[in-house]
């Protein structure tokens, strides 16, 4: 009987890792710029499609394709912040939201035109395999997701805490004016923050693609999941994002086991709404 709860628990933890990985970029951008990027889900899927292109046309392994995808996504992220989002803040309160929505639209439909609504995957021989814990079997791809999540979380934390740029990003998020007076070029800093978030989105996109099939419209779903992770775990905290992901993942798999698989996403949505209603700043939030 213990097998019944053990499987969803382990699956939940591993799945939570993927969710955390997806959410980290969103968390950092919000922590720094107070911007919840409505296009984040679609940017992650863009990462998936980018990897797909590299895998299909260059025959590389998806993880290896990151060598190309990361710089590309970095550049895209920097450009989006510099030319679009950065300007949006000066226009009006709603402008960043609407522009983010527009970016999401553009990405979704570009993908639809380029790749058709057919679902795609980044599967490899090892991602389809399973490993065993005791008597139970789990997909290797889930384990890879979790490992990637932990690595990215540690890397981002170290970056924010140890490097000058990382400290500048943190400072700019806590007191914009003081940061300016310290010689920090806020525009540049925001650009880097967004670009780094995109890098983490690129990584998330690859691992997502290795775990689940994706379509041009998958973005919305993952935006909501990422948002849920971020508000459970607290905005701007990388560790909190990891914890938030685990919590959400476990809730989802437990719900799936006891209430039926079709309700899984519904439970996630309900959790998001409930948390929004009672504690929007999250468990670790400031």
């Amino acid at each position: 009987m213990t097998g019944d709860i053990f499987t969803p628990l382990v699956m939940g933890v591993l799945l939570g890792g993927l969710y955390a990985l997806i959410a980290m970029g969103l968390s950092m951008v919000f922590g720094v710029m107070r911007l919840i990027n409505l296009a984040h889900g679609d940017l992650v899927i863009l990462g998936s499609y980018l990897a797909y292109a590299v895998v299909t046309f260059l025959g590389l392994d998806p993880i290896v394709s990151l060598v190309i995808c990361i710089p590309v996504m970095f550049g895209i992220g920097f450009a989006i912040q510099k030319y679009l989002m950065g300007r949006a803040f000066g226009i009006s309160g709603e402008a960043p939201l609407i522009i983010a929505f527009g970016i999401a639209l553009i990405i979704q439909n570009s993908n639809q035109i380029l790749w058709t609504p057919l679902s795609r995957g980044l599967t490899t021989s090892y991602s389809l395999a399973s490993f065993s814990l005791g008597q139970l079997q789990f997909p290797v791809s889930y384990l890879l997701d979790f490992i990637a999540a932990v690595i990215v979380m540690l890397a981002l934390r170290e970056f924010l805490v140890r490097t000058y740029l990382g400290k500048a990003i943190t400072a700019a998020s806590q007191n914009k004016r003081a940061a300016l007076l310290m010689g920090i070029n806020n525009n540049l800093v925001y650009g880097f923050a967004f670009a780094i978030a995109m890098v983490s989105a690129a990584i998330a996109g690859v691992f997502l693609g290795m775990t689940f099939p994706f379509t041009p419209t998958s973005g919305t779903q993952f935006l909501i999941i990422a948002f849920g992770v971020v508000i459970i775990g607290g905005l701007g905290s990388m560790f909190g994002t990891l914890v938030g992901g685990l919590i959400l993942g476990i809730c989802q798999t437990l719900a799936g086991t006891f209430l039926g698989p079709a309700t899984q996403m519904l439970i996630v949505y309900v959790i998001v709404l409930v948390i929004l209603a009672i504690r929007p700043q999250g468990l670790f939030g400031r």
């Binding site: 400290k167 500048a168 007076l181 920090i184």
Partner: protein, 239 residues
Amino acid sequence: MSQEILLKISNIDVFHGTFQALWDISLEVRKDEMLALIGANTAGKSTLLDTISGLLHPTKGKMEFEGKDITHLEAYEIVELGITQIPEGRGIFPEMSVIDNIIIGSYGRRARQKKAENLKRVFQHFPILEKRKKQTAKTLSGGEQQMLVIARGLMADPKLMLLDEMSLGLAPIVINELFKAMKEIRETGITIMFVEQNVRRTLQEADRAYILETGRVTLSGTAAQLKEEEGVKKAYFGI
């Protein structure tokens, strides 16, 4: 006190949107002096400091620092040239540690090279900060936070330091300590320009002062001169 002019402001107008805050302001800051800016709350003192720091830009007139035109430079460029502002209300980075707050001051290229040297000096001026260096900035007392932001400003290796209402909300003992520290800092070759509400105290500490009223310079002179001025006596000392 030398006669060499460090910062020269000539006839600037500054607007907040469509509202004019400063009218035809001209002033000079001389090397190694303690210069005070006195005026009521709405006189435009903070606006002037923000303009010097590059957060605002004049619509008319010119500002020169060490002979270089800084009128339209961005804030981070002005910091790089050697002007640092210690803002009103402390302006700490609340969730970062004390040492991180201090170090971020040396973000600029020039400052980063002198980081170790400046850090030693900063801890000499404010030993309590070294003691508390791992604490989160928001747990410090008001006086300690003020020291923190001054320390942070020093790490930027400034030639001119602008202090906006340094003594706001602090006990007299603490204020004395801070002024003592500012005098020590001046001895190390940094020029200081400060804005204060407490006029009597300000004229005690400053070498020279400008008086600002509703966006215009109405009086200027040495502290001794201003103390004798009838207008100042009436307006600020109620005599």
